[in-house]
Symmetry: C2
Subunit: 136 residues, 2 copies
DNA sequence: TTATTAAAAGAGAATAATTATCTTTGCAGA
DNA sequence: TCTGCAAAGATAATTATTCTCTTTTAATAA
């Protein structure tokens, strides 16, 4: 987990209580929160925060690589504070999305693409979207 | 490529000129069109078509597995007429998205997951989101 | 072929999510 | 502590999408 205070400074961004709180809300929310989830969480600490500020701060954090957007088929955007290379497990029945890290798999796939190139395309990164069901 | 006329009948859906035209527009558009792209395309044939109809038909086609939504980080939804298992190449610099089929890779990854299960999760499907750059 | 009917299309209002604009506030360096 | 610029706040505007209601039409059977 990164120090948001330090990270903002390094990017030349002002450290404001809102930015810190919004970042922490995304971390705390777990399970890739929507903006609505984030607003709900942050309102506990900042009851008066403006919705526009939340959107603006999220965009600033995403465009400075301090947060990621999660790719999905749904209308509402979801956010992820985990920056390390990882994959996602999507539940078919609910909106649950879990992070999935697997170095062995990463190595396997990277080796495959090193051997077999995709024509007309230079790969920078890859990510698995795994759909299925969570079991108890 | 499926016969949309036959496919609609099989699903017990009425075959209407709009549905056929919208389906064909998605196929013709290539590169995973947005609703806007689809509307632009279809307006050539159907200048009077209602925007609401396009949305409604797309939802019907998606929920009957005749089209797929493309997962993305962007606000606007994009559609795909290719139903076969495949992956996507995302251009880092533009909005271009290309289909990528690779049976060998599918087998490799499937074999990996057969051997190494993810705990508490039953995999139904997986899909690679490959980001990078298209080269001439 | 025509009549019937349920489903789909059309039109436009409504909603939801997000962005933009403008003013006020406050962080950070001098 | 002071000052300037970046960020927050408030709210309007925009965009994408859905909903509601009416009209039309495809599909079935007489």
């Amino acid at each position: 987990m990164i120090s948001i205070h330090k990270a903002l400074k390094e990017k030349g961004l002002k450290v404001t209580p809102q930015r810190v709180a919004i970042y922490k809300a995304v971390v705390d929310c777990k399970n890739h929160p929507t903006v609505e989830n984030i607003i709900d969480t942050i309102k506990m600490e900042y009851p008066s925060i403006s919705v526009g500020t939340v959107y603006k701060v999220l965009n600033v954090l995403v465009s400075n690589d301090l947060l990621r957007k999660v790719e999905s088929e749904k209308e509402v955007m979801r956010y992820d504070a985990v920056l390390e290379h990882h994959h996602h497990l999507f539940c078919m029945d609910t909106d649950r999305i879990e992070d999935y890290e697997d170095k062995e798999l990463d190595i396997l796939v990277a080796a495959y693409f090193k051997k077999k190139e995709i024509k007309n395309f230079k790969i920078e990164n890859f990510k698995l979207h795994i759909t299925g069901k969570f079991i108890k």
